[in-house]
């Protein structure tokens, strides 16, 4: 453990955490940019540095971007990321009342509280889960991967069908290249040498997240930003009384956020909205919510940051990421030759414990940075898109080319960008697509290994194992979701007919 501390408390690691937090915060506070884009653009840099500093950079970006969105949500009423939608409800009215600095300090503290809470859960739960999962074989890993893909789609509600479609597209994309297990067949390469290694995950992530966002922003270039003035302070922190009054709200929101983070597919957006509603329901004055109640800011900001630690629990313990950014981080680890999952704690305990410690350090760094630079961040949120968007495109190019210096990657990154734009504009969710790209290879290889080991798929399904439970649960979940969706649509149809009659 002392070795781990020594390896984490190195100047280069701390510098990477700080750089990650700063850039993450900038990405978070600029509307249109978010954590997945920040992490995706930083991925190529991680290949050039050691694993622990790389993890420091990625966690800094992840936590920083999740929290940074509160600045534009409070000052401009534009949520920087989906996680900060609920922050607008009470943060912006507070700013309108001349209490913008208060609202931002509530958000910064709540983010810190939620982040530290979920890091504690991460430290407690991840090693425990990893120990339980250490006996997992191919069938159990297949079951876990299948269940997480199903869970992601089922959680999408109305978008469930579209989610399953993008999962299949993602899984199919992962079939391109040399077949796993046998390593004999070259699939769907059409004689193109560059396709033999398959589509590069980083290129896919850059193509699906960053470029479509720029294309989308081009149509909104004429939108003007109206700035809000902030009072000068050295350190923006809420008073002890305000913290004490909202401790219960922060605690319950952090619990909710962490649980939502652990469940694949829900993410910070859902966490902040659910915890906001929960805080409103349990409040003595629910009518004040939406008019500038500090509890509104405390609840959603602690919940969305609690998601970060929660999402890392299944990633580190089971090799199943809890949200989109965790998927990208998992992809980065895989590309570094580190496989997240139960064996990580056994094969690479220093890295496993290092990530747990980094979660705390990053949260502390994020709070210190945010509480002292809110005025600067407010200015950054006003940077015109005309400057930002071309720069992001250049980073997409440098990011894509630095992976393997292959011009072919630059061609298909644009094709994936078009696909990403179609997905984005027509309600096809990104998260399941990325998850399918991350889990595609282990899903196939573990399925085929299970069949080889047990003889057939049917024989796999009768094994008394947790893998069978997960596969069974996946099927039940799909059936349950289909029944629920068809009931909802028939109810809607009946209502529409009745309304037409009236």
């Amino acid at each position: 453990m002392i070795d781990t501390f020594l390896s984490v408390f190195q100047p280069d690691v701390l510098l990477m955490v700080f750089i990650g937090v700063v850039i993450g915060n900038i990405f978070g506070c600029i509307p249109g940019l978010n954590a997945p884009i920040a992490v995706a653009l930083a991925l190529p840099v991680t290949f050039l540095i050691d694993t622990i500093p790389a993890m420091g950079l990625l966690l800094g970006l992840y936590f920083g971007a999740t929290s940074g969105g509160l600045v534009s949500a409070v000052l401009l009423r534009i949520p920087g990321t989906a996680s900060n939608v609920a922050t607008c409800f009470d943060g912006y009215p507070l700013a309108q009342k001349g209490r913008a600095a208060d609202a931002l300090s509530y958000g910064a503290f709540a983010s810190f509280f939620g982040g530290i809470f979920s890091s504690l859960v991460l430290v407690t739960l991840a090693p425990l889960l990893a120990k339980l999962a250490i006996a997992f074989g191919p069938w159990e890993f297949f079951g876990t991967a299948l269940l997480s893909l199903v869970l992601v789609s089922v959680m999408m509600g109305e978008k469930m069908l579209k989610s399953f479609i993008v999962i299949c597209i993602g899984l199919l994309m992962k079939c391109v290249g040399l077949s796993p297990v046998d390593s004999v067949a070259l699939r769907y390469t059409f004689g193109i040498k560059s396709l033999e290694a398959g589509f590069n995950l980083v290129v896919v992530i850059i193509g699906i997240f960053a470029i479509p966002e720029v294309i989308s922003s081009v149509g909104k270039m004429d939108q003007k930003v109206i700035s809000t003035k902030l009072e000068k302070k050295l350190f923006y922190i809420p008073s002890w009384r305000e913290i004490k009054d909202n401790l219960g709200v922060m605690l319950s929101s952090s619990v909710l956020g962490t649980i939502i983070g652990i469940i694949p597919g829900m993410g910070g957006g859902a966490a902040s909205l659910i915890s906001y509603e929960q805080a409103k329901k349990t409040s003595k004055h629910p009518e004040t919510f939406g008019t500038g109640n500090p509890a509104g800011v405390f609840s959603c900001e602690s919940a969305n940051n609690a998601v970060t630690g929660g999402a890392l629990v299944p990633m580190l313990a089971l090799g199943v990421p809890g949200d989109t950014v965790a998927s990208i981080i998992m992809g980065a680890m895989l590309l570094q030759g580190v496989t997240p999952g139960p064996l990580l704690s056994m094969n690479n305990p220093e890295l496993f414990q290092g990530i747990l410690i980094l979660a705390f350090i990053t949260n502390i760094a994020m709070f210190l940075y945010q509480a002292s630079t809110i005025r600067v961040m407010a200015k950054i949120a006003e940077i015109p898109k005309s400057i930002l968007m071309p720069i992001i495109t250049v980073f997409c190019l440098t990011g894509t080319i630095s992976i393997r210096n292959n011009p072919f990657d630059l061609i298909y990154v644009m094709m994936i960008a078009v696909l990403g734009y179609i997905f984005d504009k027509n309600g096809y969710p990104f998260a399941p697509f990325i998850l399918a790209n991350v889990l595609g290879e282990p899903l196939e290889s573990n399925l085929r290994r299970s069949i080889m080991y047990h003889g057939s798929f049917v024989k796999c399904c009768v094994q008394p194992s947790i893998g069978t439970v997960f596969v069974f649960l996946s099927v039940v979940l799909v059936i349950f979701a289909v029944v629920r969706a068809s009931r909802a649509s028939s109810n809607k149809r009946t209502n529409d007919t009745q309304q037409k009659k009236v």
């Binding site: 079939c175 630059l410 504009k425």
Partner: protein, 159 residues
């Protein structure tokens, strides 16, 4: 209608990919169903889902009327961005990172400025943008090539 065409194209591609799975070589020691088994399962599920989605669209008036966004990429400023970026990505290997990036950034920033401000940039703006971009790109090239060791394209003219 747009989504129906999108689904039809996806389904057609899926059918072709399904047929191709039978051409994948299989090792005699491989008892897992071969390299084609897994893509066949995925494609079958995908086609079933696309059929369900098509039925869903056809049976709902709301879905039928919903606009499918695709061609917007190829219209107006988005088309300019798309084509210029595509040209940038394709030509960077031949022209080189520094020259191509400077040209791309100056053009795009001034183009977006015109869209955002609804007026042409002044000579002063053009000069400031140009000088900042040139210095920024040289710095970026230094960071990537000399500090991070990334091989950025030097192009035919050597930089």
């Amino acid at each position: 209608m747009g989504e129906l065409i999108f689904n039809a194209i996806l389904a057609a591609v899926a059918v072709v990919l399904f047929a191709l799975t039978y051409s994948f070589p299989t090792s005699i020691f491989d008892k897992s169903g071969g390299a084609g088994m897994y893509p066949r399962i995925v494609i079958t599920i995908l086609v079933i889902l696309l059929i369900i989605r098509t039925i869903q669209i056809l049976s709902s008036e709301e879905e039928k009327q919903r606009k499918f966004v695709f061609l917007e990429i190829f219209k107006g400023p988005r088309l300019v961005y798309f084509l210029v970026t595509l040209a940038y990505f394709l030509l960077v290997k031949y022209v080189g990172f520094i020259l191509m990036t400077i040209a791309y950034l100056i053009f795009m920033i001034l183009f977006f400025y015109r869209l955002q401000e609804e007026k042409n940039p002044s000579r002063k703006t053009i000069s400031i943008v140009s000088v900042t971009v040139i210095c920024g790109v040289i710095l970026l090239n230094y960071v990537f090539c000399d500090v991070l060791g990334v091989l950025l394209p030097v192009g035919l003219i050597g930089f």
